[in-house]
């Protein structure tokens, strides 16, 4: 246990993020969107944690709290042993650089009035990583090559690139800060399938070359399978199951995970035909007024009366497999 905590690069403890809903002229708080409600997770250096859940369940909010774009309502975020929530801004800046972000939308995430080269070189300027123009230019070229772009294209503007190329520019920008941890917020979902594969390969290559750690956010289980060491399933602001990817795919315990998994196509047509699909009834409840007890119980076919009483804790069912369900 002691050893494994040494390896832990990021640890989130009881993180909560409530967005206030304001009403009227005086902006009085009328309630809260409980976007993230008491989640904890750990990521080891060099590993990838997949964070999967339907859209609106709070995945992006978790990522942004880790990036310190949002101030968490409560909880701890320990990065390399330091609680970055409490750290003063100036110290934070040096540390923040080590945590970077890859966006979902390759169009909105690049400034249309900046050339590709200056997008990638901006952080190098801000942090004074290179001391003269020559080394700056060289570093930018290096980053372009690293993500599979032709350095000749540095003078072009974002609209001159394809979606996949733009995503590569975004990746190069993230890498320009020499990060150790990258939050990838659905980096594939806006891309064509063929290009998805290329970007997945690129991210895996980079992870090996640079020893990066990823939080890989996705809204379904199909993409995350290829790249995650562990997978956390999120529902309505809660983490309902965490296990290593093989366990999640072969022995999902939480009914919600089973439902999500049944939506993933299986490449083998015989298995595909035989398997049963679980189609969930009803809609995801509103995070403003979440159901009592287990957040999933109103839609769960295994729900018992006790399910609505208390929010179930994550319990370790087998080594490294945690489930928040009293029926398991």
């Amino acid at each position: 246990m002691e050893q494994s905590s040494n390896n832990t690069i990021l640890e989130v403890k009881n993180l909560k993020k409530y967005f206030p809903i304001t009403k009227g002229f005086l902006r009085r708080t009328a309630g809260h969107v409980k976007a993230v409600d008491n989640i904890s997770l750990k990521i080891k250096k060099g590993e990838t944690l997949g964070l999967v859940g339907e859209s609106g369940c709070g995945k992006t909010t978790v990522g942004r709290c880790i990036l310190r774009v949002y101030d968490p309502t409560d909880g701890e975020i320990r990065f390399q042993g330091q609680d970055i929530v409490k750290l003063p801004y100036n110290k934070n800046r040096a540390l923040r650089r080590k945590i970077q972000l890859i966006f979902q939308d390759p169009y909105g995430s690049l400034d249309p009035r900046q050339s590709a080269g200056s997008i990638v070189g901006e952080a190098i300027k801000i942090h004074k990583i290179c001391d003269n123009k020559q080394t700056h230019k060289k570093r930018v070229e290096e980053l372009f090559t690293l993500v599979g772009l032709d350095p000749e294209m540095a003078s072009r503007f974002p609209h001159e690139f394809s979606g996949g190329q733009r995503q590569r520019i975004g990746i190069a920008r993230a890498l320009s800060c020499d990060p150790v941890f990258i939050v990838c917020d659905e980096p594939f979902s806006a891309l064509d399938v063929s290009i998805q594969a290329q970007i997945i390969n690129l991210l895996q290559d980079l992870q090996q070359k640079l020893g990066l750690t990823y939080l890989m956010i996705a809204h379904d289980l199909s993409v995350v399978r290829h790249i995650s060491d562990n997978v956390a399933i999120m529902y309505l602001g809660h983490i309902v199951e965490i296990a290593d990817w093989r366990e999640i795919y072969e022995r999902p315990l939480m009914p919600y995970t089973q439902a999500l998994l049944s939506a993933v196509p299986i490449p083998d047509p015989i298995v595909e035909k035989k398997r049963e699909r679980i189609i969930l009834e009803g809609d995801v409840p509103s995070p403003i007024n979440p159901p009592s007890g287990c957040p999933f119980h109103p839609r769960c076919w295994k729900a018992a009366p006790d399910c609505s009483k208390e929010i179930p804790e994550l319990r370790e069912i087998s080594p490294n497999h945690l489930v928040a369900c009293i029926r398991v």
């Binding site: 650089r97 995430s109 400034d111 249309p112 952080a123 801000i126 599979g148 503007f157 590569r168």
Partner: protein, 298 residues
């Protein structure tokens, strides 16, 4: 790596690449009206700069023996009620027009846009205060506001600049604030934050450049409207003091002689109309040329 190559080195583009600036020029000057507008503006600025060389007479020289004369070889456009050469006065009037346009738009633009940037970026109570103040200014009809400020400050060209500058400021502030509010929601602004950019960098290298194109169009249009507003003030006899040749004041004094020598009002009137029209034409051209939907196309 061969897989990646396919996507990374594109088949399209390489040779028929058109730079942003070339595209801008092509759209901008693709229409005759825009070229015409540009020509009128350039000509007016030229005339204003070289007025002493171009004007045949001193514009303020009173000559009571040659009052209200029709055009002649000696006075190409005739003379006014005090025997001053009309052509010289129109030429000198362009100096006031051009300087009013530039100075007023600079005052209104710099102050208005800065306040709008602060209000839009920081928001909070500072933003609310700035925007309420602008609302108060805008609640008055612009001409009434200008009259009130001009009367309050008294005459003189500097006061006219200030009065018009304040009257033109709120639209800049509002437009800038609105632009910033929408632009700051873009992912690339968050990206700048995440890589460690401070407020100043975010504002001046990401927000302002993206907010500027629509403001640029407005600046062009306002150059014309400021000239028109100054003419209105001069026409009403408020603002710039009498002997100075301004087009608005010339129309005003000329209207008493509309039947004897209509040129006295018509010539400065046409000058104003042409110049304001020119700024509008160029503004329209700019609007098209800066249209983001046309980016990357010709």
């Amino acid at each position: 790596m061969s897989e990646a190559d396919l996507e990374t080195w594109p088949e399209q583009g390489q040779n028929k690449r058109v730079s942003e600036f070339q595209r801008f020029l092509r759209v901008m000057f693709g229409r005759w009206l825009v070229i015409f507008g540009t020509f009128v503006i350039v000509l007016t600025v030229f005339v204003a700069l070289f007025a002493p060389q171009l004007a045949p007479y001193n514009p303020n020289k009173v000559n009571l023996r040659e009052m209200i004369e029709p055009p002649s070889a000696k006075h190409l456009l005739g003379t006014d009620e005090m025997g001053r050469d009309l052509l010289s006065r129109v030429i000198y009037g362009s100096r006031i027009a051009v300087s009013v346009g530039i100075v007023v738009v600079c005052i209104a633009g710099v102050i208005g846009m800065s306040l709008g940037l602060i209000a839009g970026y920081f928001g909070g109570w500072i933003g609310t205060m700035i925007m309420r103040f602008m609302d108060a200014l805008m609640s008055l009809p612009p001409l009434v506001l200008m009259l009130a400020i001009a009367v309050m400050l008294g005459g003189g060209i500097a006061k006219v600049y200030v009065a018009l500058g304040i009257a033109f400021m709120p639209t800049y502030c509002r437009l800038m604030c609105g632009e910033i509010l929408s632009i700051k929601e873009n992912d690339y602004v968050m990206a700048a934050n995440v890589i460690g950019a401070g407020h100043i960098r975010v504002m001046f290298s990401h927000l302002v450049p993206n907010a500027f194109p629509p403001l640029f169009v407005m600046i062009t249009l306002d150059l014309g409207f400021a000239i028109l507003a100054e003419a209105s003030l001069s026409f009403l006899g408020i603002g710039i003091n009498p002997p100075t040749a301004t087009w608005g004041a010339m129309i005003n004094s000329g209207q008493q002689y509309l039947l004897t020598n209509p040129l006295l009002s018509i010539v400065p009137g046409v000058a104003i109309v042409l110049l304001v029209l020119a700024f509008n034409l160029v503004g329209d051209g700019l609007r098209d040329a800066l249209d983001p939907r046309l980016r990357g196309k010709i």
